[in-house]
């Protein structure tokens, strides 16, 4: 633990130094940069990245690339199309280099705004420091593993010593007894197991207890066969629900859109991933956050796996057509004889996904949260009231049934949600 504390403070110092260094280098534009970042994210980030090409070229150091010709850049940003139309050689060349993709005009940006953005793009890359930090981190965590082994080893040695010592103590004591002539008396008593066998009452009671305990455990074992609560398989691509649904707050139904209308929630097709990942090709993450054993390189590697599957060439920014569909391991498996419909629960009943799937936004690796047994379904159907406000379908049946049962709100069970044929056909 102590070592871990060391590492934290060490990296903190490192980051502090880095921040200090950065603030020194950019002190002259401090205000502009912050504003520029904001403007960049809202206007440019859809097509440009600071580092690495996207739909458009990488923007870090764009001023230097254009030999500091800020005036030309202003013109380009405000209306690249008119610049190209005017026959500006540099503009036409750039346009052709980038497959004649037209860049949006930004007449709304003031000169000051553009300056701020350019200032932001002129920031040097923070990567080297971050890289050292993560390298450090790797080394540190390696050290942790070694220390664990040492501690365990020492403990084993101590235990072994204790065992040997006890053995010798016993030997010595035996010798003492022998020398005092006490040994004979001890041997005349009946061994305890013989006494136990002779006492029939005890035997019957203990057999009874054993059978009860045994059947309790056997029953428990039998009841969990086929119940896969906590099933957490390794997936072909390490997809972190924690990062997507938790950190980034993406709505479940953005990716699992068919949960609203269909019986299956649907594993998102890869083109849905590419809606965002066309631009997010590497994991940047939050420096203050702990991602456990996963490094940014690891996550970036997983994004690369997505690109391989969908056939996206990140460097050339185009699809190669070489698709390799991903074989996900299905986690929630219902038997064939059960019919379950997501839209009934998500759309009609308005349940949160978390009700059955648990705190998915905290799950680094997705796992089965609920037992998915029939008892579990039935329990919920008994307790839950049907959400029938603003749904014309329920108007008549609610009126009639609530009168019949004399209740204000009907449970699913009262609506007929326990009938066999509602789920088994």
């Amino acid at each position: 633990m102590k070592k871990v504390g060391d590492h934290n403070s060490f990296s903190r110092i490192l980051f502090f130094c880095l921040a200090l260094m950065l603030s020194f280098t950019t002190i002259s534009f401090a205000q502009d940069v912050a504003k520029g970042k904001e403007l960049f994210n809202s206007n440019c980030a859809a097509c440009h990245k600071l580092d690495g090409n996207s739909t458009g070229p990488s923007l870090r150091g764009v001023v230097d690339r254009h030999d500091g010709d800020v005036e030309w850049l202003h013109k380009w940003i405000k209306s690249s199309s008119s610049l190209i139309k005017s026959g500006d050689a540099r503009a036409v060349k750039l346009f052709e280099e980038w497959n004649k993709v037209v860049m949006n005009d930004f007449p709304g940006l003031s000169d000051e705004d553009i300056d701020n953005i350019l200032a932001y793009t002129s920031e040097p890359k923070a990567e080297p420091a971050a890289a050292t930090a993560s390298a450090r981190q790797g080394a540190q965590s390696g050290g942790d593993g070694v220390s664990d082994i040492i501690v365990l080893g020492a403990l084993t040695v101590v235990l072994l010593l204790l065992v040997t010592m006890l053995f010798f103590v016993r030997k010595v004591l035996n010798k003492v007894i022998e020398s005092n002539g006490l040994a004979k008396e001890i041997h005349t008593t009946i061994p305890i197991w013989k006494a136990f066998v002779k006492n029939q009452f005890l035997v019957i009671v203990s057999v009874f207890v054993l059978v009860l305990v045994g059947s309790y455990f056997v029953y428990g074992y039998m009841m969990q066969i086929g119940v896969d609560k906590g099933y957490e398989p390794v997936q072909p691509i390490h997809f972190s629900h924690k990062i997507h649904a938790g950190d980034n707050g993406i709505d479940c139904k953005y990716c699992h859109s068919s949960a609203r209308s269909s019986k299956t929630s649907g594993i998102p097709s890869l083109n849905v991933c590419m809606n965002c990942h066309k631009n997010i090709s590497e994991f940047t993450g939050d420096a203050d956050k702990d991602y456990g054993k996963y490094t940014p390189e690891f996550y970036t590697g997983e994004i690369q796996k997505l690109y391989d599957a969908v056939g996206w060439d990140a460097a050339a920014q185009k699809y190669t057509g070489q698709e390799k569909p991903v074989k996900w391991v299905r986690i929630h498996n219902l038997p064939d004889f059960v019919y379950y419909n997501h839209s009934q629960h998500v759309n009609v009943a308005g349940l949160e996904c978390q009700t059955c799937h648990g705190p998915v936004e905290d799950m680094e690796v997705m796992k089965q949260h609920s037992p998915l047994t029939m008892g579990w379904c039935i329990d919920c159907h008994r307790k839950t009231n049907v959400k029938m406000d603003d749904n014309e379908y329920y108007a008549k049946i609610h009126e009639e049934l609530s009168k019949k049962y004399g209740v204000e709100k009907l449970t699913v069970a009262q609506m007929g949600g326990l009938e066999c044929g509602k789920c088994h056909y």
């Binding site: 209308s261 019986k263 097709s269 991903v326 391991v329 056909y425």
Partner: protein
């Protein structure tokens, strides 16, 4: 006190020295146990290193391993789309409108697809759609997933690429063009304007080419007659809904007569409205669907039918010729008078393959100015030219055909003279056969070109004049196939894709619709039909018809079965297992023969101990062609002196072994005439039929199937013709169903489903049976299991014959029988159907009794009642005691004796990956040892409810459907919520024709029937 009496088990025991008694005493098994089978091979035994102890170890370990493995759940992989198509949401069905045109069936349909695979055919319910999918069309989706389809093109039996086919064919076409060799395009009826245009262009490119159309089951005579009278080659259309008197002379217009598709209009006229319904008089030899539905049916030989036609002409038109006398002259004269009296409300049709007979019918209808007769609405669904086909075979044998390109035809199987066709093929330089399967013709042709199924193809169809339909693919082609049209385009030297070509043609027809709208609807109404005038030598035709002589011997009338049609779907297990509506026999064709003739020939039908039906074999000979060992079935209603035999069976090529059943009737189809003179002799041996209904009569049990006549229906109170069982309660006579020892459940809240079945509208076509198969994953069990009465049909259509001439007379006979002797003999005779019986159809599925006898006897509560009226069956709870089936008075529960999926013993569609693609993912495939039955399509009612909930609205009246009610194009089956006052089923439930099956037992079913009314 102990007795000294000695008991003997058999006489043999009296003989103390008998060796048999001694043997039996020492042997538990009377029959020798065949130990030699596995112990006989001494060498193998001694060389084996497995000892008894080893064997036990293996058994022990494998059992333990299997047990352990069973505790671990399998890893299930899910593979999502890389790019999900916009219109596909996993779990939600998409529907596409398309049109089937396989040369035999032509109809607008909707195709239900799930995750991109078609799983069911439904009716296109848009107004004006040419709707009404029959059993074969419903089953056609399974034919696409046929594992024996031709998967890539083949040249001389070897797999090749399409490029090589192109090279070969182009070279051959070029050679033909240069040398002036004849090119023949030999196709089935496509009725496709774009294909016609294509072929025209092909002929322009290759001037020596010509197009010959061939229908396996020909309507050539009717086509010739129509052409003579109206100048174009086609068929007259009919609307039987507009007729008051329908006289059919040998035309099974509820079957496949002239392309079929008449039953929905016919059924409309059959439901009594304001005391009126149509009168249907059928004169025929075989018992057909139409005959079974007729009010008056006269069994006549074909010669008598010709005479009857002349008589009809004489009465209605006048003049004509003198006709020979028949066995029912009086009835024919009466029919003629009724027809004349009906005037424009009368109509006559005939199925005789005789140009003169067809001309006479046109003349009579013209003279009547029949409203039901629509000659201006030319039907194009049959175009086969018998003469041209005969000429082609001659040309081929003479070596006058250079290149033969076939599509959709299988002449090697379907031609009577197939031997000379095969001989002729040898003289053809290059022959190409576009075929779904490697059938007899594809095997004989040089090139077998793999063709796509209609669900994988683009196309257009002109079913009748003014009705243009489009065919669109509903799945990407499963195999390396190419459409005939695509190939012809390419070989003409036109590089347009057929889709673009079709689009151009389609736009030309339906100019006021966008292409998308046209494809969406699946059809368009194009142009007005102008009246046409008939001009032909009708009186000449009549005298010619009157002169036609009767031939010697039996008349063999060839027909098509409702399930099999022309036989192109013979590898479809659903259709093979589909029981024929009339004979109730599945997996076979057979010679239908009248009782009188059967007795004369010594032909017998009898039941054996396991409930199966056996029948004698006969040998038949037509014009020197012999068919041996044809099973004979005694058919009530068969005209004496005639026999019937169905097409479509006896195929061998590209058929699974189980489907290679029956005999090939096409061998006897000389000159494309469905009537042949035949010699019959009894052969040795008996045939085992797979017949699903052994009792043929009702034994006058009026509470199963109620029927009455229009006269009684109109004049008397409902109490007299729809008699309800009554009981005495509180010293008063009340309806039995109103008295209850059970505390009744309140059914007024929420939905309460009822299914109404109108016995007047039901023609027995069986579309619902196949629709139920497709919707509910009903397994196919095979011929030997069917014979053991283990069929799995959730929905069956019972067919009953009357024992006297009518069902009413059956009842009279029972009621009037006095004393023990008379009653006994009455009951014995009631078991046997009459020689010309009345026929009634009754679809029976689970009746969803509100007081269900099955529910009370289930020891594990696997079957229980839902509030919505459905009797639920939880398969996972069932332990297979079968108490429920024993206690069901309607016998609608079906037991899974075996696992029918993934079981090589049942090598049908559920045993291969391709065939399983047709399964409905919303319904579970039942495992061995559980009971199953109709669920009133609970998956569909639940889906309808959920749809309404999702959209936040109440369910609309008539929105609920079941597979059977949706498939029923005649309107006999209506499903819905009886708690919804505005739905049709509520009104039907209140009708005075409504009754429940076996009402006296008090089960209170949720399925109800309507009394059958006959217009006698």
């Amino acid at each position: 006190m102990a007795s000294n009496k000695k008991y003997w088990k058999s006489v043999e025991e009296l003989n103390e020295n008998s060796s048999i008694v001694e043997t039996l005493r020492n042997n538990e098994f009377v029959e020798e146990i065949p130990t030699d089978e596995f112990l006989g091979d001494k060498n193998k035994l001694s060389s084996s290193s497995t000892t008894r102890r080893d064997f036990l170890k293996y058994v022990g370990f494998s059992t333990a391993a299997a047990t352990l493995a069973a505790c671990e759940g399998p890893v299930v992989k899910s593979i999502p789309y890389v790019v999900q198509p916009e219109e596909i949401i996993p779990g939600i069905a998409d529907y596409y409108a398309t049109t089937i045109a396989d040369g035999f069936d032509f109809v607008n349909v909707l195709v239900k697809t799930r995750e991109g695979r078609p799983i069911k055919i439904e009716n296109n319910k848009l107004a004006n759609a040419y709707s009404g999918a029959n059993a074969r069309v419903n089953a056609s989706v399974l034919s696409m997933y046929d594992s024996l389809r031709l998967k890539q093109p083949k040249v001389e039996g070897k797999d090749v690429s399409w490029d090589e086919v192109d090279l070969r064919v182009r070279a051959s076409l070029k050679d033909a063009k240069e040398k002036g060799g004849n090119i023949v395009l030999f196709t089935n009826t496509m009725a496709s304007p774009s294909t016609d245009k294509l072929i025209e262009e092909f002929v322009t490119e290759y001037p020596t080419a010509k197009h010959i159309v061939y229908d396996a089951v020909s309507s050539s005579a009717a086509l010739d007659a129509y052409e003579k009278a109206y100048g174009t080659r086609g068929l007259a259309d009919y609307d039987f809904g507009k007729a008051d008197v329908i006289v059919s002379v040998g035309a099974d217009f509820l079957g496949d007569w002239q392309g079929g598709g008449y039953d929905s209009a016919y059924a409309k006229g059959r439901v009594p409205k304001n005391g009126k319904m149509s009168k249907h008089i059928q004169l025929e030899a075989n018992m057909s669907l139409s005959g079974a539905n007729a009010d008056v049916r006269l069994p006549l030989t074909v010669a008598e039918q010709r005479a009857a036609l002349v008589k009809l002409y004489n009465v209605v038109v006048g003049g004509g010729a003198s006709a020979s006398s028949t066995s029912s002259d009086e009835a024919i004269a009466k029919a003629a008078q009724q027809l004349k009296a009906a005037g424009s409300k009368g109509v006559v049709v005939t199925g005789l393959d005789d140009v003169n007979a067809q001309l006479v019918v046109l003349a009579i209808n013209e003279a009547l100015q029949s409203e039901a007769f629509l000659p201006e609405q030319t039907k194009y669904v049959r175009k086969g030219d018998a003469k041209a086909v005969s000429q082609l075979i001659k040309d081929m044998n003479a070596g006058n055909v250079h290149t033969l390109i076939m599509s959709g035809v299988n002449p090697v199987y379907t031609l009577a003279d197939s031997a000379s066709f095969v001989e002729g093929l040898k003289n053809v330089k290059t022959s190409v056969s576009f075929s779904l399967k490697e059938d007899e013709t594809a095997l004989s042709a040089t090139i077998a070109a793999a063709a796509p199924h209609y669900l994988e193809s683009w196309g257009d169809v002109m079913i009748h004049k003014g009705h243009y339909s489009v065919m669109q693919p509903t799945i990407r082609p499963l195999f390396d196939t190419r459409q005939f049209q695509e190939a012809i385009l390419l070989w003409t030297g036109n590089n347009t894709a057929y889709y673009d070509y079709l689009k151009e043609v389609g736009k030309g027809f339906a100019a006021d619709l966008t292409w998308n709208q046209l494809v969406h609807d699946g059809f368009a109404i194009v142009g007005e039909n102008t009246a046409v005038n008939a001009s032909a030598d009708f009186s000449g035709a009549v005298s010619e018809l009157a002169r036609t002589k009767k031939e010697e011997g039996f008349e063999l009338v060839l027909y098509t079965k409702t399930g099999m049609g022309d036989g192109q779907q013979a590898n479809n297990p659903w259709l093979q297992e589909f029981p024929d509506p009339i004979s109730r026999v599945s997996w076979d064709n057979y010679l239908t023969i009248s009782r009188v003739d059967a007795e004369n020939l010594g032909v017998k039908n009898y039941h054996v101990a396991n409930g199966g039906l056996n029948g004698s074999y006969v040998n038949i000979e037509v014009n020197g062609v012999k068919l041996e060992k044809v099973p004979a079935l005694i058919q009530p209603g068969q005209a004496v002196g005639t026999v019937g035999l169905a097409f479509g069976y006896g195929r061998k090529a590209a058929l699974k072994e189980e489907m290679q059943v029956g005999v090939n009737a096409y061998k006897l189809y000389n000159n494309f005439d469905n009537v042949q003179s035949v010699k019959i002799e009894k052969a040795s041996g008996d045939h085992e039929f797979a017949c699903v209904q052994l009792q043929n009569t009702l034994m006058s049990r009026g509470d199963i199937l109620k029927d009455t006549t229009l006269e009684i229906f109109n004049t008397k109170d409902a109490k007299e013709w729809n008699i309800f069982p009554m009981v005495s309660y509180d010293h008063e006579e009340v309806r039995a169903a109103s008295v209850d020892i059970w505390e009744s459940f309140d059914r007024s809240v929420g939905h309460h489903f009822n299914l109404s079945i109108d016995l007047n509208a039901c023609t027995g076509c069986g579309a619902c049976v196949i629709a139920c198969h497709a919707e509910n994953n009903v397994p196919v069990v095979g011929k030997s299991e069917i014979r053991r009465s283990r069929d799995m049909h959730w929905l069956r259509i019972d067919r009953y014959y009357s024992s006297e001439d009518t069902f009413a007379e059956d009842v009279d006979k029972k009621v009037n029988a006095k004393g023990f002797v008379e009653t006994r003999s009455a009951f014995l005779t009631l078991e046997h159907p009459a020689d010309n019986p009345q026929v009634a159809f009754q679809p029976v599925m689970c009746q969803h009794c509100n007081h269900a006898p099955c529910e009370t006897v289930c020891p594990v509560a696997a079957t229980s009642h839902g509030r919505q009226g459905q009797n639920h069956m939880a398969y996972n709870r069932c332990v297979g005691t079968r108490y429920c089936a024993n206690n069901c008075p309607y016998k609608v529960r079906r037991f899974n004796w075996f696992s029918y999926a993934k079981n090589s013993e049942f090598d049908y569609n559920m045993n291969d990956d391709l065939g399983r693609m047709v399964l409905n993912p919303d319904v579970v495939v039942r495992s061995r040892g559980v009971m199953e039955k109709c669920s009133l399509c609970i998956q569909m009612t639940q889906a309808t409810i959920l749809k309404a909930k999702n959209e936040g609205r109440a369910v609309k009246p008539n929105e609920f459907e079941t597979a059977c009610s949706a498939a029923c194009s005649s309107g006999a089956m209506v499903f819905g919520d009886v708690n919804e006052k505005a739905s049709d089923v509520t009104k039907l439930a209140e009708s005075d024709r409504a009754y429940h099956l076996l009402e006296h037992i008090g089960t209170k079913p949720n399925v109800f029937y309507h009394v059958k009314v006959r217009n006698i």
